[in-house]
């Protein structure tokens, strides 16, 4: 067993894990232990480290992994300051849209007359709960609305049901969870898929290895996109 082209890859546990393991297996990596052992973090012999998706950019930026797979939602949320478009946040290359893990960042509120619109009209500000405070703040700022962003870590659907906020910004693949909680999508903010990212120094020092991997992935990525369309996934 050897790493692909001698590269270390940060693989996200969670919703993107299965598709990512399939992708690596398709490249000829021996992923048997990786898919079996969900407690082990470091698979040195195949050049894989596993972690939660939101940690992938951190490890790749630091050079602890040459490449990584994470959701676009994670990259956007860890991005730069909204008022400076050139402030890109994480210093990593975004090399390829892997197509899977497709979901949409949405603004949603309780079904019926939109409580967020009413709050905005009568109180001049809407309260929005989210696990993605930067994406939410950026979207509301861009659309010229005053909002009070409430960051929550767990099930964000609870927040509007208890009256704590009028709306939520969250990631959804099928909309099932929203519907079950009597919430409706009011706006679609951005579509997010899994991305292959690279450390900027690795991208130069291991150029041939990374380019070869990219060429092979470009051959398989479109097929995977069709396969996994509609699967319930989320980056966080």
């Amino acid at each position: 067993m050897t790493p692909i082209n001698g590269l270390t890859i940060a693989v996200p546990r969670g919703a993107l894990f299965g598709d990512t393991v399939d992708l690596l297996a398709g490249l000829g990596l021996d992923t048997e232990e990786l898919s079996k052992n969900d407690r082990k973090l470091l698979f040195e012999d195949i050049g894989v480290i596993t972690m939660r998706p939101s940690d992938v950019p951190t490890y790749v930026e630091a050079g602890a992994a040459d490449l990584g797979v994470t959701g676009k939602d994670v990259l956007l949320e860890q991005g730069g300051r909204a008022h400076n478009p050139l402030d890109g946040g994480r210093e990593v290359y975004e090399l390829l849209d892997l197509g899977y893990g497709r979901c949409t960042m949405v603004l949603a509120s309780k079904a019926g007359p939109d409580p967020a619109a009413e709050a905005l009209r009568r109180l001049g500000v809407m309260r929005v709960a989210t696990k993605y405070p930067r994406i939410a703040a950026h979207h509301l700022e861009e659309t010229g609305r005053q909002a009070e962003i409430v960051e929550v870590k767990g099930s964000v659907e609870l927040a509007p049901l208890t009256g704590m906020v009028e709306a939520i910004v969250d990631l959804t693949a099928t909309g099932t969870t929203l519907r079950e909680n009597n919430l409706v999508v009011r706006e679609e903010i951005v579509v997010c898929t899994a991305r292959l990212i690279a450390n900027p120094v690795s991208h130069k020092l291991k150029a041939a290895a990374i380019d070869d991997l990219l060429t092979r992935l470009r051959g398989t990525a479109p097929a995977r996109e069709r396969e996994s369309a509609g699967r319930e996934t989320a980056g966080a």
Binding site: T2, E61, A64, L86, G88, V92, E94, R195, N199, L205
Partner: protein, 334 residues
């Protein structure tokens, strides 16, 4: 009793100072041997003066008022202050002028990323020496300086800031689309670049070139097949590469996608990489129009090294560990 200091700043105590001093002393001796005289400039400057330069990402982050209400900034690099010095103190001196510096610069940070607010930079500025000879001299001094510190495995990425804009112009990319494409490249977002191009309505061949050219990096062979549309930048890179002595040329990775997020670069740009560190140790480039903004039109080139990053890379190489190093070794073992 513990008294806090701002995040991103630190006290440097004797053990570390001794090591850092050894590095800077080595760098200084190499800079001086090549004829670069050391200068100091004030850490505080008038905002209105530094604003003459297009700093982009490296915009000064800290402002204070003086007793008369003027706005002062803490300098964010040394290139712009030296451009000011040349225009005001060397207004009629015969070029080329050679300066080096060891100075603290001040940058804004993003929270909880471990970024420094105050960083010690070591660098040179070569004023009045046009491409390709001036660029080759700067790269030579850079390699000699790094060699003298004992850094072994570093490489220099060399590209040209004018290449992608020239490519867009010759492929007739609509004016309004150009900043979007260039921003994607600066942000290292090839997915964003691909998406913007797919929606651009440009011809397939043009899209293919705009996507593939910035991903070309490697030895001088990558210049051979470069498209005619990028000819002047590619010719410039070839000329610089041919002027380099063998040991320096061997360190260079030509990179047609290299862009640095500082607005004043006009031609060749470069970055220093070492496998012991996940981020560039330093970089530089040509800024042929910056001096003109301060009233003395002279071509120029320079570089700055992050002394702390260089220190980390040296320590990493010494231990045989560090970002990319440890894994290369474990990869080789299996």
């Amino acid at each position: 009793m513990i008294h806090p200091i701002p995040s991103g700043t630190r006290d440097v105590l004797p053990d570390e100072t001794r090591e850092v001093r050894a590095i800077t002393a080595t760098l200084l001796s190499v800079f001086e041997r090549h004829g670069y005289g050391e200068v100091y400039t004030p850490a505080l400057e008038y905002e209105s003066v530094l604003a003459r330069a297009d700093m982009a990402e490296a915009q000064p982050a800290y402002r204070v008022f003086d007793e008369s209400g003027a706005v002062l900034v803490l300098r964010s690099d040394m290139t712009v202050p030296i451009a000011r010095v040349v225009a005001s103190r060397y207004a009629s001196s015969e070029p080329p002028l050679r300066f080096c510096y060891f100075a603290h610069c001040y940058r804004g940070v993003r929270p909880q990323r471990g970024q420094p607010r105050e960083l010690l930079q070591a660098g040179i500025e070569l004023i009045g020496a046009p491409a390709p000879h001036g660029t080759a001299e700067a790269l030579t001094v850079l390699c000699h300086a790094l060699d003298a510190t004992g850094l072994k495995d570093y490489r220099i990425g060399l590209g040209d800031a004018s290449l992608f804009p020239a490519l867009m112009a010759s492929l007739r990319v609509p004016e309004e689309l150009r900043p979007t494409l260039l921003d994607s490249l600066v942000l290292r977002d090839f997915v964003g670049l691909e998406q913007a191009l797919a929606e651009s309505g440009l011809a397939g061949e043009a899209i293919e070139l705009l996507l593939s050219v910035p991903q070309r990096r490697g030895g001088p062979e990558i210049l051979a097949g470069a498209p005619a549309e990028a000819d002047s930048a590619v010719t410039g890179l070839r000329q610089v590469h041919e002027l380099l002595e063998r040991a320096v040329a061997d360190r260079v990775i030509l990179d047609l996608g290299l862009v640095r997020n500082i607005g004043y670069y006009t031609g060749a740009v470069f970055e220093v990489y070492d496998p012991a560190l996940g981020a560039p140790i330093g970089g530089g480039g040509r800024y042929d129009e910056l001096l003109g903004r301060f009233g003395r039109q002279l071509p120029a080139v320079g570089f700055a090294l992050g002394v702390d990053r260089l220190h980390i890379a040296l320590a990493g190489e010494e231990r045989g560990t560090g970002a990319l190093l440890a894994r290369e070794m474990s990869g080789g073992r299996t």
